[in-house]
Homo-oligomer: 421 residues x 2
């Protein structure tokens, strides 16, 4: 079952990562930022070797016949390469999150308790083929004073190795141990299992990728996992919605970038506004090339609409397809969202403050909106300055994960000889 | 492998729990407190049946020959019963944590983002034989607006069932669905596996009990788990420690209640103070009946001390036994603690501010102390007013878990028609 050698390799990596994390946790914010700047510099110096490594991945990908969309994600164009390097400088320039005092408790017995923000320690990141995730995820971990163990998709193996080598070189010039950023180099698939079972050695695992990857990691893991599952996002057009506003918001939520997790997948319409709103909305969607799957009431209002199946209500299309349902009232809209949704991002469009409040309170999602597009669920749009992903978990981090979500806390207690009576 | 019937039963329980959690999340703080008060009242009214059920458990326990310490933990004496009922009233009276605004972000595009504290949803609690945990854990969940599914030890089955029945009766009088507090009634051990794999139906599982229980749960779980592992707590007596203070603090940390997780298990002594401190300290421990396991240097200072094995440094004795080691300096003390400890509670006794700072920064534990006993790591001692346990995890909750740690957050966003450009 388990390869002892592989297990030993991963344990050794994690032990070195822990040591590096201890160095990072002693470093000042300035030192960590300087290491990131040095890493960006080293990546620029090594641009030829990184782009050559990427060309090798692309050639192998073409040979093994991976699909065109994957090849596109894999490719490090010059513009993407520059953006990746600039990303490190941008993360270096963000305000520091480590060491902040979250709470202070002064006890009657004189104990002074401070709750202080500290790094998590060693973080494992498991991701698919985009090589820029390597630099992106690693730099977020370094900025937040965590060591990182990366496991990228095998299609981007050479690219990832070249990027990590450059980051390590740049980091070492700034005094950072190479083990602060490590890549699992074996293509043995059981390395993932080994990594996510290193209880006590790895503090957190974040899988970034498709649902099947995340589910596999979550089933094997013994260390905590923060999951970024799909986004089945809803917009509910209430009876009192501003019609023109609603058309623009729904258009944006569905069409502005349909392939991402915060795009709308299901449109719910209050029955009172449906006869005026839905035909106009459907006309706009027709112009944009959106295929509609509707419930019988919607189909009767918009001839030619395809009838939706039960499966449609659960589906994240990531494409110009939209499920549409007419609901009798707000309560049924909320029930639908909590039942079929993925607890990611959901919006109500309404002029009623009472309905807005009820929706915001009762929809059990990471982000809930009134009168805005769900497309704003994003670390940058929230002003976090960076993003590790969008957590669909409720534990530790929910919604956009920025630098603060890559930290934990400890209680620091000053006494003057107190003993417990 | 899996019993479909058992699986279906647990799914049905979780679905009902979700509905109850939705009711709770709509309730005001006053309504939740009133339900707890009503539960306490019902438990008092049902005292005869609860105590009779406990007597049945005790009789069965004696018959099956469970050990004396377990029988003692199992027994609901009149005093314990009263304390359990009063505990519900005390939790009812605590300040509310749900609905608080944790952060407000005003974006340049006019979006107003609020990060609001909300309940987690459905929490599973798996615990061993003490029946008062049933009322304790359930009331913390209700106070924080979560529904709870309880799985107690089979030895306390009748007690748990009687307590939950009374809580449900009291809750229903206050309008709370019975499914807000449910007990898994089957003694089939695979119920635990089923419970911790209900991804999407159960939001969090907290095992409370011995290491083997926690490890088993963590290995089987697919839902997030917050682990309360053992406490291998250290006190480091630095070269400049106040001698009398150090003796009182170490005595307290070891002897005041040796069977709990925040008691000291290893004493580290700076070599410069060891010749004056250690013999006096050993004399005090001898008076208190503490057996010492020392490294060779300690043994040579305190004749008759048993020699410690490598295993000793990892051991949580929960008894009047203590490992003792003389270290050359602060760095080695920190290294020892981070290597052998359980990241629970560790203290430095020193007059040096610089050494205190270094210890507090570099010891990677949930709670770190200067000049105080580790025995203070406790929700009540921290002023939380209640405690679900002491998390040794770093994710979501670290150290004492109170009501706030039983919540998560959501982002509530008010717009005026914003779309993403």
């Amino acid at each position: 079952m388990m390869s002892t050698t592989l297990h030993d390799t991963l344990v050794a990596m994690a032990v070195e990562a822990r040591k590096a994390s201890q160095v990072l946790s002693r470093w000042s914010a300035e030192q960590r930022s300087a290491a990131l700047t040095s890493m960006a510099e080293a990546m620029r110096q090594e641009s030829a070797s990184i782009i050559a490594a990427n060309a090798k991945d692309l050639a192998e990908g073409k040979k093994t016949g991976i699909e065109k969309a994957s090849l596109d994600r894999l490719e490090l164009t010059r513009a993407r390469f520059d953006a990746m390097c600039n990303g490190l400088d941008e993360i270096a320039a963000l305000p520091d999150v480590v060491g902040g005092v979250l709470d202070t408790i002064q006890r009657p017995n004189g104990l002074s308790i401070k709750k202080v923000r500290v790094p998590i320690g060693v973080i494992g990141i498991i991701y698919e083929s985009r090589p820029n995730v390597t630099a992106d995820a690693a730099s977020l971990c370094i900025k937040s004073a965590n060591a990182v163990i990366l496991r990228g998709g095998s299609e981007s193996f050479h690219s990832n190795r070249a990027i990590v080598a450059a980051m390590q070189k740049g980091g070492e010039r700034a005094g950072l141990p190479a083990a602060a950023v490590q890549l699992i180099e074996t293509t043995d698939r059981s390395a993932v299992r080994e990594l996510v079972q290193l209880e006590g050695l790895v503090d957190l695992v974040i899988p970034r990728g498709g649902e099947s990857l995340i589910r596999a990691v979550s089933e094997m893991a013994r260390v905590p996992v923060i999951k970024h599952y799909k986004g089945v996002c809803h917009t509910f057009v209430d009876a009192t919605a501003d019609l023109q506003n609603a058309i623009e918001i729904c258009d944006n939520a569905k069409c502005q970038r349909p392939g991402v997790c915060n795009a709308m997948e299901t449109l719910l319409v209050h029955q009172d506004i449906a006869p005026t709103f839905l035909p106009r909305m459907a006309e706009r969607f027709r112009e944009k090339g959106v295929v509609l799957h509707g419930d019988p009431a919607s189909v009767s209002l918009v001839p030619g609409m395809k009838e939706a199946t039960e499966e449609d209500w659960y589906t994240e299309y990531l494409d110009l397809i939209l499920s549409v349902r007419i609901v009798p009232d707000l309560s049924e809209a909320i029930r639908h969202i909590n039942h079929y949704g993925s607890h990611h991002s959901d919006a109500i469009l309404t002029k009623s403050d009472a309905n807005a409040e009820m929706f915001l309170d009762e929809v059990d999602s990471a982000t809930v909106y009134v009168n805005a597009s769900t497309r704003f669920t994003d670390g940058f749009e929230f002003g976090m300055g960076a993003e590790m992903g969008i957590s669909t978990d409720k534990i530790h981090a929910r919604g956009p994960m920025g630098l603060a979500e890559l930290t934990t806390y400890k209680y620091v207690i000053h006494g003057t000889g107190q003993v417990r009576p």
